[in-house]
Amino acid sequence: MLEMLNKILIQNGLVTAFACVGVSIWLAGVLSRRLTFGHVHGSAIAIVIGLALAYFGGSVTHGQKGLADFPLLAGIGLMGGAMFRDFAIVATAFEVQASEARKAGMIGIVSLLLGTLIPFVIGALIARAFGYTDAVSMTTIGAGAVTYIVGPITGAAIGASSDVMALSIATGLIKAIIVMVGTPFAAKFMGLKTPRSAMIFGGLAGTVSGVSAGLAATDRRLVPYGALVATFHTGLGCLLGPSVLYLAVKAIVG
């Protein structure tokens, strides 16, 4: 019986992955509502669960691919692999309304550029201070400080090692969680009360999940304005990270 079930789960790896990820996200949603009363976004908890399971998988199997090193869960490797990841990222571009984006105007573009450059430079410098002195690692960790999507996409494009990629995701994830939890408390300091300020926030604070959750916890009406700019964030980071920013870092550190 159990062997038959095992065989089916292994043979249908990707489908198994869909089911497992679905359960994790449901669990994350429950934890988000019950434990944090919605203060920490469900997606952030789900990603933390994913990273925790990857840690568990890595320590049990001593492999490189986290949970995907269990034969039963190899489908997670396909679902979270480069093909599906890039496909889903490209699809999110569809949510950008060009007519609305124009309203964001110059200040949105300025904050988007600053929101890519400032975290990148800080992340890359801190990475260097901690001994990641090669251009690829500095760029990947710097990109992770932009968002947890830009980090691995940049890392994959320029050939970063898996541990640097994980570090860059961890950086982006910690940043997203700080934005989600900290925004309501820092809202007054940041002057978050108008659509324009929400757009500045969306450009500078980065991740869509961080921005939308952080703004929702502050003032529900701010959400669409911030998220609108934030949806450009990952695209801009993915465009600049492996190209201009990588070449700049390479030119500086050699």
């Binding site: 990857a54 929101g115 975290p119 901690f130 700080i178 492996p242």
Partner: protein, 136 residues
């Protein structure tokens, strides 16, 4: 047809990655340069073009929208296959980079939102259909 949307997305994805490879080769980087970003820009432009022509019915949009909504689940799966054990050895890097990045950005937001003229305001009962649940 829902497949038209997914096929459009697939075409942009492949074309973007191809152009990213070409760009990488052109500037001498042994890597795909901005392929995903190029694909996104192509999809945004194509959406505007097709919408203008009236060739973007709801079903076609759903063929892309589904994959956009799968973004967080895919990221969760991606997190689950990272080499976290190895990453934790460099722990303070992630924590410090994140805290410093958020702090610096918060300062810049505070400055920018107070500078210049802010003539934006909330119209009464503005579009509240956007929910944070879309993110998960």
């Amino acid at each position: 047809m829902i497949i038209y949307g997914t096929a459009l997305l697939a075409a942009c994805h492949l074309m973007g990655l191809f152009l990213g490879d070409l760009l990488g080769a052109a500037i001498g980087v042994k890597a795909n340069v901005g392929g995903v970003g190029i694909a996104m820009l192509m999809l945004i432009s194509l959406k505007i073009y097709l919408n203008g022509k009236g060739w973007m019915p709801k079903e076609t949009e759903a063929g892309v929208g589904f994959w956009g909504a799968m973004y967080i689940p895919v990221v969760v799966a991606m997190a689950a296959n990272q080499n976290v054990v190895a990453a934790l050895k460099g722990g303070p890097v992630a924590l410090l980079s994140a805290i410093a990045a958020v702090g610096a950005c918060a300062l810049v937001i505070a400055v920018l939102s107070r500078s210049g003229k802010d003539d934006t305001a909330f119209p009464p009962a503005h579009s509240l259909e956007f929910t944070e649940e879309q993110d998960i």
